[in-house]
Amino acid sequence: MNSGHVHLWLNHLPTIGFGIGLALYVTALLLKQADLRRVCFVIFFLAAAFTIATYVSGSDAREQLKETPGVSHPLMEAHESAALVAFVFMEITGFFSWIGLWIWNRPTRFAHWNVGLIFIFATLTFVLMAQAAYIGGAIRHPETEAAQAVSLNPSVPTLPRAWGLFVQDHSWVWPACETIHFVGLCLLFGTVLIFNLRMLGIGKTMVSFAALRQLLPLGMLGFTLNLLTGMMFFVATPEQYTGSFFFLKMMLVVAGALNLLYFMLSGSPESVEYGGDAGIWTKVIAASGILIWTAVLFCGHMLPWLGNSF
């Protein structure tokens, strides 16, 4: 299986997987099923995490198809552009779904609004993803009617190319984003450390799980800063972020999302009170959380040496 196949395989998660999630969400809203709604928040959150890996694997697929005859390059550009817009909406849906999970069982006015907000963003995401998938499917078949229906104007740069030109033309953008990427790294790392070290027993007499839960948005803020700045790098110069090493970093981010989900859903860490010890399984997951995010940092840092960057 080459990296182009990886992109084709991963495509099913933001499209079919997310579509199933949306159908379930509508069902949950119509039948007023709270538990099913929670399942949908999990699906949307996971879809958003996997979409990061899906989006970036596209630049590998492009490299692979470059020399292949019968492939339409303008359609590839159009697909990239549509996918970028869909990606943004997918991440917003995932973000609010995560908030929905975080404030679960706390009936605030925002929680109520959030349900509607997620419905709107999820619907838009689904439409945009379907459009991106439609154009993507036409790349290898530019002779078909479907491909002809996509309007292309090669003289106008697509959204990602205009984005790239902006970054190239303004020399301050790159170092500014790098700096913010480091700030986000620190915020994420601080939360990951305090949260997981407590689960492993450090400072247990002083900290209960309920207190730790309040820290999570700070880690999410750090991650959001890094997703935004990371996208500045990636969209501007996608050719730098090809190959299995960068893809490994993105899959580790997905692993980090799964790791966080354990603590958001499992009831057992919730019972950890002042002075209490987490169960052995929880401790293993906590240790793996520190390892996963350190590995993400390792992969990001080593990109110029082990990846294709710079």
Binding site: L185, I202, H301
Partner: protein, 161 residues
């Protein structure tokens, strides 16, 4: 000046600079980044807690996490010294480098002062003075990160900024 050149051209420094090994320059810089994550991550969480974020988390709990922060600090003191040694003549001529050192010195003094105010037996709500110190702490670390990142850009022969 000769002294700096001597250090910079020592066998160890040449190895760090030029060796085609991940344990040389890339590894040392990696440790420097991880150290930053430990120090600034825990310190910034502490500052934000003082300012009212995550109120259920007891302030004195940070006393237990500060040793982790100091581990990060010493990792960075050591790796930072190595990174200085391998590039001594250039860095000592770069004003940005002194700005970074000044920010770190201020941030470390800041956290020491803050520690004495906060880690007391009878925990009280943070005073205005403590809150101001939490804000300055974040400003100093932000300054250290920014000037540190910009070392890769300013003072280069091509000069991006």
């Amino acid at each position: 000046m000769d002294f700096l050149v001597k250090i910079q051209e020592s066998g160890f420094c040449q190895w760090v600079r030029e060796a085609d090994s991940l344990f040389a320059f890339p590894g040392i810089l990696l440790l420097h980044t991880i150290g930053m994550g430990l120090v600034v991550g825990i310190n910034a969480t502490f500052d934000l807690r003082i300012l009212g974020f995550a109120p259920a988390l007891r302030l004195r709990a940070f006393e237990k996490f500060f040793p982790v922060m100091w581990v990060g600090f010493w990792i960075n003191a050591i790796t930072g010294s190595i990174l200085l040694a391998v590039n001594a003549t250039k860095l000592t001529h770069n004003p940005d480098f002194y700005i970074k050192l000044a920010f770190i010195a201020l941030a470390v003094i800041n956290v020491q002062v803050l520690k004495r105010q906060v880690f007391v037996p009878a925990e009280t709500a943070p005073t205005t003075k403590v809150k101001i110190l939490a804000v300055t702490s974040m400003i100093f670390w932000l300054g250290a990160i920014t000037s540190g990142r910009l070392l890769a850009y300013v003072g280069r022969s091509s000069g991006v900024l």
